[in-house]
């Protein structure tokens, strides 16, 4: 009995000491990440049957238990993945937000404001060299900001991709640790002892792993944990399978796992979060920034390429962008102009080329029509070279260069033809008869035009072969037929096409110059009648245009007298101005109350003066003049990179044209060529607030605001999500701490309570002892 009693007491002591040891272990690991509180599992000792009595044998300390909730642990691991994904994204996104530097004036918006501000200043003093230099410098600063932003985004994308690789390395390290922990746990637990601390370490490792990639894990009966990533085994019973990452040029991340050819797809964890940035968010921003820069380059160059430099024109222009041999047949010239590898689109339309010949003191404007489906590089070059004084060729790099003859300058400006009646078809000195109406003219094969000229009567007949469609004969086609006729030439006559009307003239001038329209089957189609005699005038009406055309679209203004009479003399004499659609847009009174040479307002910024002379509506007096809002509706100059403000095609390659930086006088302020003109600058200024097709109809300011706003929204949205996920994580961690964590205060209080109780108990031990000894004394 005595031995049982001693043993019972000893077991109780040992159990209590174990419990206190565990308290000490708990306290010591209170701050150990992932540590789970441990407690002693006790049970009553086996009952002994002694002398017919069932006698207890005290308490047994059976096992040290880990206080964990497996489901909560799994939720913590999953939550760690979600949180790490958002943390990784938010980290990079915050860097992007800082890179944009908005608001604060250090970002691109400040650069744009300064750029447009410098244009505004320069537009007020277009001849001021300081302002001119200032604008070039601000353009250079803006381009540098684009470069910096593009470089920053590119670096961030590259860094983010590097972070993916780093995370993958971490995954492999942790996977190897897990294999080792699995081995140690199974070895220890094979002897029946729970490996609590190692299991805690494994839980921590799993949670750490989940921060990099989303995982699923299961524990086998032997205590080993198998981990899979995207359905592929990462940690097996005895080994880890290496995860690897491939990052393509576009920043796309592909994960592969050893032993499998099928890429692993992860949706959470830092790798997934970073992958979303490299594959979606950052490239999206880069594309938007490139679009923005590209459209800025396009629009600015559209304005500038048709501008005229300070010295009045070019003698040599070399394209920035090379034309390329797309079909690899050894020749560039057979390529379609719109498909010759130029970085900007070429569309159908017209390019106007102005050629100023100092020797002849003439300024002529030539129109080159481009059809994006038919015009070849060679065809375009031929059209350029056909312009008197110009030569177009490709250099060795495939860049188009235009070189003018000595004494000749050229430009692509929107010049207003100051002396539009070059042919003298509007009250000129030549005998002149116009068709009175625009073509096409309904002719038939064999129709004749009978004239009497200085050398006598002759007839010109037309044939079907002379026209694309003879019943729809154009003025140009008929002009060619007439001018090709030997009798027509011999009699000193010529035909001209004035905006679709045909005008037949004598080549001599004055009252002695005359010809008759005798008849013929074709004259009715032109509105002529047989027996008409046309005579030249002593004085030609001097017509001069001024101002700058401010219309939004290219137009053709046709001027015709509405009756016969003398300018400044005949009462009610008027000149009608018609647009290219034949609509009367203005009526100019040039009769008795008009002082010849005084300025009349045509409209859209254009003015006109008429000199003294006779006008004849009956004889079909007419002149026409192009009104150019855009002298390059094809964008061929922008596509070639000729006379642009900026070079490059996107945010990273954008810069100011090098020769412009070196010589700001090349900066084109005007498109009309007048000194002090600022039409190009005003067109550029309009771009700040006008809608741009390439930016989905938004202005540059709106687009950039949206761009910055979108980034801010994404960052805020991600931050909000991170806060929510962080709150959930904190909540789960608190629940874990409640279940598994060690509260050092509680543990100490518990021990101090023991200490105090034992102190009190010690006193009672003495009291009880004294009392009973006293009692024994009387027994």
């Amino acid at each position: 009995m005595a031995s049982i009693g001693l043993n019972t007491g000893l077991k109780a002591l040992l159990a209590s000491q174990s419990a206190l040891d565990i308290i000490g272990h708990n306290v010591a690991n209170a701050n150990t990440p992932g540590y789970s509180r441990q407690s002693l599992g006790v049970s009553a000792g086996r009952t002994l049957n002694l002398r017919g009595l069932a006698i207890g044998t005290g308490v047994n300390a059976d096992v040290v238990k880990r206080t964990v909730d497996g489901l909560l642990q799994a939720r913590l691991t999953g939550q760690a993945s979600s949180l790490a994904s958002l943390d990784a994204q938010l980290d990079v996104m915050t860097s992007i937000e800082a890179l944009l530097g908005e608001p604060g004036g250090f970002g691109l918006s400040g650069g744009l404001d300064r750029f447009f501000g410098s244009i505004a200043e320069f537009s007020s003093s277009p001849n001021d060299l300081v302002m001119r230099t200032g604008m070039v410098q601000s353009a250079g600063s803006l381009a540098a900001q684009f470069n910096q932003l593009a470089g920053g985004l590119s670096s961030l994308r590259s860094d983010t991709a590097t972070q993916v690789s780093f995370n993958v390395d971490q995954v492999n390290l942790i996977a190897r640790d897990l294999v080792q922990l699995n081995r140690e746990i199974s070895e220890i637990e094979a002897s029946g002892v729970p490996a609590n601390d190692l299991r805690d370490q494994r839980d921590v490792a799993l949670q750490e792993l989940a921060k990099h990639v989303d995982i699923t894990y299961t524990e086998g009966s032997n205590g080993n944990t198998r981990v899979t990533v995207g359905g592929r085994l990462l940690v097996g019973e005895t080994r880890a399978f290496a995860l690897s990452s491939d990052i393509d040029q576009a920043g796309g991340v592909t994960l592969n796992i050893e032993g499998s050819q099928i890429p692993v797809r992860v949706v959470r964890g830092a790798v997934a979060g970073l992958g979303k940035l490299t594959q979606g968010f950052i490239p999206g921003l880069q594309d938007q920034l490139d679009d923005y820069a590209r459209n800025l380059i396009l629009e600015m160059n559209r304005a500038h390429s048709t501008g005229i430099p300070l010295d009045g024109g070019f003698t040599r222009l070399v394209a920035e962008h090379a034309l390329s041999d797309q079909d690899q047949d050894g020749s560039v010239q057979d390529e379609l102009l719109a498909g010759a590898g130029l970085p900007f689109d070429v569309s159908s339309g017209a390019l106007y080329v102005n050629v100023n010949n100092a020797g002849t003191d003439t300024l002529n404007t030539y129109r080159i029509d481009i059809d994006e489906t038919t015009t070849t590089v060679g065809g375009f070059m031929d059209q350029l070279s056909e312009i008197p004084g110009l030569n177009a060729a490709l250099n060795g790099a495939g860049q188009l260069q235009i070189i003018s003859d000595a004494g000749v300058k050229f430009d692509f400006g929107r010049r207003l033809d100051a002396t539009p009646d070059d042919s003298g078809t509007f009250g000129g000195q030549f005998a002149s008869l116009g068709s009175g109406a625009e073509g096409p003219f309904s002719l038939a094969n064999g129709d004749t035009f009978d004239f009497t000229g200085p050398l006598g009567s002759f007839s010109v007949s037309v044939a079907t072969a002379d026209f694309t469609e003879i019943s729809q004969a154009t003025a140009a086609e008929l002009v060619d037929v007439l001018n090709a006729d030997a009798n027509f030439q011999a009699n000193g006559m010529r035909a001209v096409d004035v905006s679709g009307r045909i005008v037949v003239q004598s080549t001599t001038s004055g009252p002695t110059a005359t010809f008759d329209v005798d008849g013929g089957s074709g004259i009715a189609a032109l509105g002529w009648t047989a027996g008409t005699t046309v005579t030249g005038h002593t004085t030609a009406v001097d017509v001069a245009l001024g101002g700058t055309y401010t219309g939004e679209a290219n137009d053709l203004f046709t001027f015709v007298p509405l009756s016969d009479g003398t300018i400044g003399t005949t009462p009610g004499l008027e000149v009608g101005v018609f647009d290219q659609n034949g609509l009367l847009i203005s009526t100019l009174s040039v009769g008795e109350n008009y002082l010849p040479g005084s300025e009349l307002d045509v409209g859209n910024g254009v003015t006109i003066t008429f000199g003294f002379g006779e006008l004849s509506a009956s004889d079909g007096d007419v002149f026409a003049v192009d009104m150019l809002a855009d002298s390059d509706t094809t964008d061929i100059l922008v596509a070639l990179g000729m006379n642009g403000l900026f070079t490059g095609t996107d945010a990273s390659s954008m810069s100011v044209r090098a020769d412009l930086e070196a010589d700001p006088s090349l900066l084109a302020a005007s498109s009309g060529g007048a000194s002090g003109g600022n039409s190009v600058l005003l067109q550029m200024l309009d771009l700040q607030s006008s809608n741009v097709d390439g930016l989905s109809g938004r202005s540059f300011t709106e687009f950039y605001n949206d761009f910055v706003g979108d980034v801010g929204f994404e960052v805020a949205s991600t931050a909000n999500s991170r806060d929510v996920e962080g709150f959930l994580m904190t909540n789960l961690e608190q629940r874990r701490d409640q279940i598994s964590g060690v509260n050092i205060d509680e543990e100490l209080v518990k021990m101090i309570e023991f200490e105090q109780n034992f102190q009190a108990a010690s006193r009672y031990i003495q009291v009880v002892n004294d009392l009973h000894n006293d009692l024994l004394r009387i027994l």
């Binding site: 206190l20 002693l40 100490l748 034992f758 010690s762 009672y764 009387i778 027994l779």
Partner: protein
């Protein structure tokens, strides 16, 4: 007061004393169990009950001294020489019923003393273990125990 009546009152005292020892023994067992179960609250509760039990002891002593004094006066012997054995012997048949009560009280008192000693050893061991743990937890970076220098924890800090 007659001797038989005094002896009957002594028997009542013995029965009360036996009940008190049994309660003490039960409280010591409860205390031991609470220590083994690491339940400080139960230990504290057992201590409070033991304290109440011990507080009744004065009344037992006074009653016992009064009865023995009366018998000593009656028999003309010094009170401090009387034991229960000598009282039973002097009382003869009138004190025979006291013998089993004395045996039972002796037996239960021996049990209490043994339990008390064992509990004393258990408490002593626990105090040393707790002291070790607290010293370990609260020792400073140089390994010096802080508990010896003052209060353990400033709970309001």
């Amino acid at each position: 007061m007659s001797i038989p009546r005094t002896l009957n009152r002594l028997a009542g005292y013995l029965q009360g004393e036996i009940g008190a020892r049994r309660r003490t023994l039960a409280l010591l067992e409860t205390q031991e169990a609470s220590i083994q179960a690491n339940d400080p609250a139960a230990t504290a509760e057992a201590l409070r009950k033991l304290d109440r039990e011990m507080s009744t002891n004065g009344e037992h002593l006074r009653k016992r001294a009064q009865l023995i004094e009366q018998l000593a006066t009656t028999w003309g012997v010094p009170a401090d020489l009387l034991t229960l054995g000598s009282i039973i012997e002097r009382g003869g048949p009138a004190a025979a019923h006291l013998a089993p009560l004395r045996d039972e009280l002796r037996s239960i008192t021996a049990l209490v003393i043994r339990k008390n000693r064992r509990l004393g050893a258990l408490i002593g061991m626990h105090r040393r273990v707790i002291r070790d743990v607290i010293e370990y937890v609260l020792e400073d970076e140089r390994g010096a125990a802080m508990s010896g220098a003052g209060s353990l924890i400033d709970a309001e800090a």
